[in-house]
C-alpha cells in the first residue's frame, strides 16, 4: 500500500490516538507504547480519555510524541489506532489530512468507510489471534500486544525497549513474559512483511527525557502526604480522587510499616460519606495528627458545614480536590477547574480558605507535603486543587526532591513545659500580631491549657459569648490571619522582560501544560505577553501588582464562569475590564492550539501588539 503523496512525515513530533473499548485490557498495551518511546529518550504527553464505566463504553488513549517536550495536548491526530467499531466514524474524522488509520482488517471495510486523504493500515488482528490462541480472554489480551508489535515496526519503536518493559512487569513470571514476547513478534512480523516500515511518521532515538520521571498527580500527591507526615487519611471513593487515597495506602505499606513489629504508622479509614471523611480529618487534626482527605466537587459540596467549623474553630485540615466536570454529577471522568469559588468561600457566613494550585505531579508532591505545614502553621483548612488531568494522567516531570534537613513545622503549639513556665494560654489570643493563636493538644496538662472547641462564637480565651465586640474582634483576627497566609503560601511564578509588555497572561494548575507551547506560538506571531502563574490563594501582592502593571491581562482557565477572574476582581479590587478571559470547559484538557487561537483573536481586538510582519 503506497501512502498518498500528501502523507505526513514527522519524526518525534506526532499524535497517536488509540480508540478502545473500556475493559478490553488495552490500557496496559497503550501504557507500554508510551513508556517504550520514553525509554528511547523521546518525551511524550499521554492522556487517557475514559468514560464513567467499567466495561463496554468507548475509551481513548492519546499519545503525543514530542521531542520539544511540550506537555499539553496538541489537538489533532496523526494516527488513529481505531480498535473500536462503535466510534470508527468519529475517530477517522479526527485524523489530520495526510494521517494514518490503523485498524483490524480481519473483516474487509467498505471503501465508503475510509478517507482518501488518510492512509489505511489494516492488520488482521482478530485472524492472527484466532489462529494462535483458543482461549477467548487470551485472544482479547494478546490482540492488544499484537497491535503494539505492529505499531513498533510501523513507527520504528525499538522492540528491545518493549521487551525490557515486559521483563520488569513480569519479573518471576516467565510464562507470561514469553507469551507476551511471542505476541509482540506476531504483530511486528506482520507489519514488516506487509508495509514499508517504518512510516514517514516515526520515532527516532533521542536524549530529551533525561532523568525525568513518568507519574500521575494523585500518586505524587499521595507520596507528598507520606513525606508531609500525614498519619490519618479519611476518604470516600469518588472519581477522580480515589486513586490518591489508594496510592497513599500503597506508599504507606512500603514506607510506613514498622519493620520490627509489622505495625502501621498510619491509619486510613474509608468513611461512609464525605461528611464523615472531613469530620474524621478535623477530629484527628484537632488531636495533633496530620490528617487529610481526597475528594472531588460533589464531596466538597457535602463538606461545607464542617469546613466552616474548621475555619471558625481554627483546626488544621488538608483537602485534595481533584476537580472534575461539574456542576452536580457532571462529567465524572472529565477535567475542569470549576471548584475555585466553592472552595475559596466554602461554608455559610464570612469564610475564606487557602488554596494551592500545583501545575503538575511534581508540584502535587511538593504542595501536598507543604500543605501539612501550612495547615498546622495557619490552623485552617488547606485545599490542594488538583484536577483530573493532573491527578489521573501520567506526566513526564522532573524527579522528586527532598532535603533531609527539613523538619515538619507543627505551628504554634503550647506544650506542658510552656504552660508550667506560666505562659498565658488563650486559644484565640493573638500573641504575635499575625492573627495566629496558640493551641494545645488534648491531654497536654493536668490543670492548664484545657479549652472547649466550638462552632459558636467565643472570646479570646475560648469562652462562649455572643457579645458583638468579642465576635468582631475574633472575625478581624481571622482576617489578619488570612493576610498572614499570603507570606506562607507559594509565591506566584512571574516571567517578564525588563520593560513590561503591554499585556500579560495569568494561568494556574494544569493549564500550564499547554501554556508554554502556546506562548511560544504567540511570540512567533509577534504577540509578546508577560506571564504570571498563580500558585496559591490568597493572592500575594505581586499578583495585583502584575495586573496593575499591564493594560490588559488574559486569564486562562478551565471553567465557564471565569472563577479565577472573579477571585482576582473580588480580592484584589481589580477593574473587571482589565481581565480578558480565555475559557475552556468542555471537559477535555485545554490545548495550546486553542489558547493561541483565542489569545490571537482577542489580542487583535484589544490591539495588544502592533500588527507587524514577523520575519520567517
Amino acid at each position: 500500500m503506497t501512502p498518498p503523496s500528501t502523507a505526513l512525515s514527522r519524526v518525534n513530533d506526532f499524535v497517536v490516538k488509540f480508540a478502545n473499548v473500556n475493559g478490553s485490557g488495552s490500557a496496559s498495551a497503550n501504557g507500554l507504547f508510551a513508556k517504550a518511546i520514553l525509554r528511547m529518550g523521546v518525551p511524550v504527553a499521554a492522556r487517557n480519555i475514559f468514560p464513567s464505566n467499567i466495561q463496554g463504553l468507548p475509551t481513548w488513549f492519546e499519545v503525543r510524541v514530542v521531542e520539544a517536550g511540550w506537555r499539553g495536548r496538541r489537538g489533532g491526530v496523526d494516527m488513529a489506532v481505531a480498535m473500536n467499531p462503535q466510534t470508527w466514524d468519529k475517530d477517522l474524522a479526527e485524523v489530520d489530512a495526510g494521517g494514518y488509520v490503523f485498524y483490524d482488517s480481519t473483516r474487509p471495510l467498505p471503501p465508503s468507510k475510509l478517507r482518501a486523504d488518510v492512509t489505511p493500515i489494516g492488520v488482521p488482528l482478530t485472524a492472527i489471534c484466532n489462529a494462535e490462541y483458543s482461549d477467548p480472554r487470551q485472544r482479547q489480551l494478546f490482540k492488544n500486544i499484537i497491535y503494539l508489535g505492529a505499531l513498533s515496526a510501523l513507527l520504528d519503536i525499538d522492540p528491545a525497549e518493549i521487551e525490557k518493559l515486559f521483563g520488569e512487569q513480569y519479573k518471576g513470571k516467565e510464562a507470561l513474559l514469553d507469551s507476551n514476547r511471542k505476541a509482540l513478534k506476531l504483530g511486528r512480523d506482520y507489519a514488516l512483511a506487509n508495509f514499508a516500515c517504518p512510516l514517514p511518521v516515526r520515532v527516532q532515538r533521542s536524549d530529551k527525557v533525561g532523568d525525568r520521571i513518568f507519574i500521575d498527580g494523585n500518586s505524587a500527591a499521595a507520596l507528598g502526604c507520606v513525606y508531609g507526615g500525614a498519619t490519618v487519611a479519611a476518604w470516600y471513593p469518588i472519581t477522580p480522587s480515589s486513586s490518591l487515597a489508594e496510592a497513599f495506602a500503597s506508599h504507606c505499606r512500603k514506607l510506613r510499616t514498622d519493620k520490627a513489629t509489622g505495625k502501621k504508622r498510619y491509619a486510613i479509614v474509608q468513611a461512609e460519606d464525605e461528611l464523615a471523611s472531613i469530620g474524621m480529618v478535623i477530629g484527628a487534626a484537632w488531636n495533633g495528627a496530620r490528617a487529610f482527605t481526597a475528594t472531588s466537587g460533589p464531596g466538597i459540596s457535602l463538606m461545607q458545614e464542617f469546613l466552616g467549623l474548621a475555619y471558625f474553630a481554627e483546626i488544621p485540615a488538608v483537602l485534595f480536590d481533584v476537580q472534575r466536570g461539574s456542576p452536580s454529577t457532571g462529567m465524572p471522568t472529565r477535567t475542569q477547574q470549576a471548584d475555585l469559588l466553592c472552595c475559596a468561600y466554602a461554608s455559610h457566613g464570612d469564610t475564606k480558605h487557602v488554596m494551592l494550585f500545583p501545575e503538575d505531579p511534581k508540584e502535587s508532591f511538593e504542595f501536598a507535603a507543604m500543605a501539612f505545614d501550612l495547615a498546622d502553621r495557619l490552623q485552617t483548612p488547606i485545599f490542594v486543587m488538583l484536577d483530573l488531568d493532573i491527578g489521573m494522567q501520567d506526566w513526564l516531570v522532573d524527579p522528586f526532591e527532598w532535603d533531609d534537613s527539613r523538619r515538619m513545622d507543627r505551628g504554634k503549639v503550647m506544650t506542658a513545659t510552656m504552660l508550667d513556665a506560666g505562659r498565658d494560654f488563650g486559644r484565640y489570643l493573638d500573641v504575635d500580631g499575625d492573627g495566629i493563636p496558640y493551641r494545645t493538644y488534648p491531654g497536654t496538662h493536668a490543670s492548664k491549657g484545657g479549652y472547649f472547641t466550638r462552632g459558636t462564637t467565643k472570646d479570646r480565651y475560648a469562652k462562649y459569648t455572643e457579645e458583638g465586640p468579642a465576635y468582631v474582634d475574633n472575625m478581624q483576627r481571622l482576617q489578619r490571619k488570612f493576610e498572614t497566609a499570603k507570606e506562607h503560601v507559594p509565591a506566584p511564578a512571574v516571567q517578564q522582560g525588563t520593560k513590561p509588555a503591554k499585556s500579560g497572561v495569568i494561568w494556574f494548575g494544569s493549564t500550564g501544560a499547554a501554556m508554554g507551547e502556546s506562548l511560544a506560538a504567540l511570540e512567533a506571531e509577534g504577540i509578546r505577553l508577560d506571564r504570571l502563574r498563580i500558585r496559591a490563594f490568597p493572592f500575594a501582592d505581586a499578583v495585583a501588582e502584575f495586573i496593575h502593571a499591564h493594560e490588559h491581562v488574559f486569564v486562562v482557565e478551565q471553567n465557564r464562569d471565569a472563577q479565577m477572574k472573579s477571585l482576582l476582581v473580588n480580592e484584589c479590587g481589580i477593574d473587571p475590564a482589565k481581565l480578558i478571559s480565555i475559557l475552556h470547559y468542555d471537559g477535555t484538557p485545554v490545548t495550546a492550539r486553542y489558547i493561541t487561537r483565542e489569545i490571537t483573536e482577542k489580542a487583535r481586538l484589544f490591539n495588544v501588539a502592533p500588527l507587524r510582519k514577523v520575519a520567517p
Partner: protein
C-alpha cells in the same frame, strides 16, 4: 440547676480518690439547662464515674454534636479538652480524634435528635467500626433547644406538649447498636444514678464501641401525661434486667451477694464485671437471646435498662487497623518521613 457559682476552695474533708483528686476536680462550668433536666443528672453520674475510676481528668476528651445534650460536656470535666462539633457529626470527629491518639479516653455525648435523626449515619458507622469510646445518648424524644418538636426516638402515638401525636415509628438506639456490632450496649435512666454510675465506669474500661442509651426526661417539653419519655412513664415501665458492679483489675471483689444472685463476666484484660441478676433468664453475652428479649419487652411497652449486651473479648478500630502502640500524633519526622534516599529509589522506579 443552680445559677450560683460554686466557691473555688475545696473543703478539706472532701473525699479524695487514688490520685488525690476530689469530686470537684471532675466538675465543669455551671449548667445552663432547665432546673430538673435529666441531662444534669447524667453529668453528675459522669463526674462520679470518672472520680471513682481514678482517671486524670485531662486524659479524657469529650466530644459532642449540637443540642441540649451536646451542651453538657461544658458541665463536667472542666480540665479536659472538649469539642462541640456540628449537628449529628460528633461520631466522625471522635473517630478521627481516637485515630490520632489512642491513649486518651473518648467520651461522646449526644442526644436523640443528634444521633437518631440528623446523625443516624455517623452513629451507625462509628459503632460498626468499633471506635474505642463511650457513646452516651441523652435520650428525651424531643428537640429541646428549638422548643419541643418530636425526634426520631419519640414513640409512635406519644403526645407532644402541644398535643400533637407522633405518627412515625421510633428508633430504638440500643437495639440498633446491637445490630450494628457495638460490643457494649446499655440503657440507663437519668433518674437512677445508682444504676448509671457503674454502667459508665464499665463502658469506660470497655475496649471498643460502648453505647449507653440514657432515657433522660425533658422537664420543659416532654414530661407530661401521654409522653413515653417522662419521669413518671419511665419509672412505671422500667424493667431493669441487672444491676452492675464494675470491678477493675486492681479492685478486690468485696460486695457480698447470695449465691445464684450474681454473674461475673471476665474481660480480656483481666477485669471483671459483676452483674446482680434481676431477671434470672437474662444473659447479656447471648446476642440472639438479648435481641429477642428486647423485642418482646419493647412490644409490651417496657423500657429495659441495665447492661443489655457485652462482648467480653472485643477489639477496637486501632486493633483492626493494626496501628503502632504509641499515639500517631506522637510520631516524629524520623518515624514518618522516608527521606532523600528512599525518594531516589522511588524516582528510579518511575523511569
Amino acid at each position: 440547676m443552680t445559677y450560683l457559682a460554686k466557691p473555688k476552695i475545696h473543703h478539706p474533708s472532701l473525699p479524695k480518690n487514688a490520685l488525690g483528686f476530689t469530686r470537684r476536680d471532675y466538675e465543669g462550668a455551671i449548667s445552663t439547662l432547665c432546673a430538673g433536666c435529666g441531662h444534669d443528672s447524667i453529668s453528675a453520674a459522669i463526674i462520679q464515674a470518672f472520680f471513682e475510676l481514678d482517671v486524670p481528668p485531662h486524659r479524657v476528651a469529650k466530644l459532642s454534636g449540637i443540642g441540649c445534650s451536646s451542651k453538657t460536656p461544658t458541665y463536667f470535666l472542666g480540665n479536659s479538652h472538649g469539642f462541640n462539633s456540628v449537628h449529628g457529626r460528633m461520631p466522625s470527629v471522635l473517630t478521627g480524634a481516637a485515630l490520632a491518639n489512642r491513649d486518651l479516653i473518648y467520651l461522646g455525648v449526644s442526644g436523640d435528635g443528634d444521633s437518631a435523626s440528623i446523625g443516624l449515619g455517623q452513629f451507625a458507622h462509628s459503632l460498626r467500626r468499633g471506635v474505642n469510646m463511650v457513646y452516651i445518648v441523652e435520650n428525651n424524644g424531643v428537640y429541646g433547644l428549638t422548643k419541643g418538636q418530636f425526634s426520631a426516638t419519640a414513640d409512635r402515638g406519644s403526645k407532644s406538649k402541644r398535643g400533637a401525636i407522633n405518627l412515625d415509628e421510633s428508633i430504638d438506639l440500643a437495639m440498633l447498636a446491637l445490630t450494628l456490632g457495638a460490643t457494649f450496649v446499655a440503657r440507663g435512666f437519668s433518674g437512677d444514678k445508682a444504676q448509671l454510675v457503674p454502667l459508665i465506669k464499665a463502658a469506660v474500661e470497655h475496649k471498643g464501641a460502648a453505647l449507653i442509651d440514657i432515657v433522660s426526661p425533658c422537664v420543659a417539653f416532654n414530661n407530661h401525661a401521654g409522653s413515653t419519655k417522662s419521669y413518671d412513664y419511665v419509672r412505671e415501665h422500667n424493667d431493669a434486667v441487672n444491676r452492675l458492679d464494675f470491678i477493675s483489675t486492681r479492685e478486690e471483689i468485696t460486695a457480698d451477694y447470695a449465691p445464684g444472685e450474681t454473674r461475673d463476666v471476665l474481660l480480656h484484660d483481666g477485669g471483671t464485671i459483676r452483674l446482680r441478676k434481676l431477671n434470672d433468664d437474662y444473659d447479656p453475652t447471648d446476642k440472639v437471646g438479648v435481641t429477642a428479649f428486647l423485642e418482646a419487652r419493647r412490644a409490651a411497652g417496657e423500657v429495659v435498662t441495665g447492661l443489655l449486651y457485652l462482648h467480653p473479648h472485643s477489639t477496637d478500630l486501632h486493633g483492626a487497623l493494626d496501628t503502632v502502640a504509641v499515639p500517631l500524633n506522637s510520631l516524629t519526622d524520623a518515624d514518618l518521613v522516608p527521606g532523600e534516599e528512599a525518594l531516589a529509589a522511588i524516582n528510579a522506579g518511575l523511569r
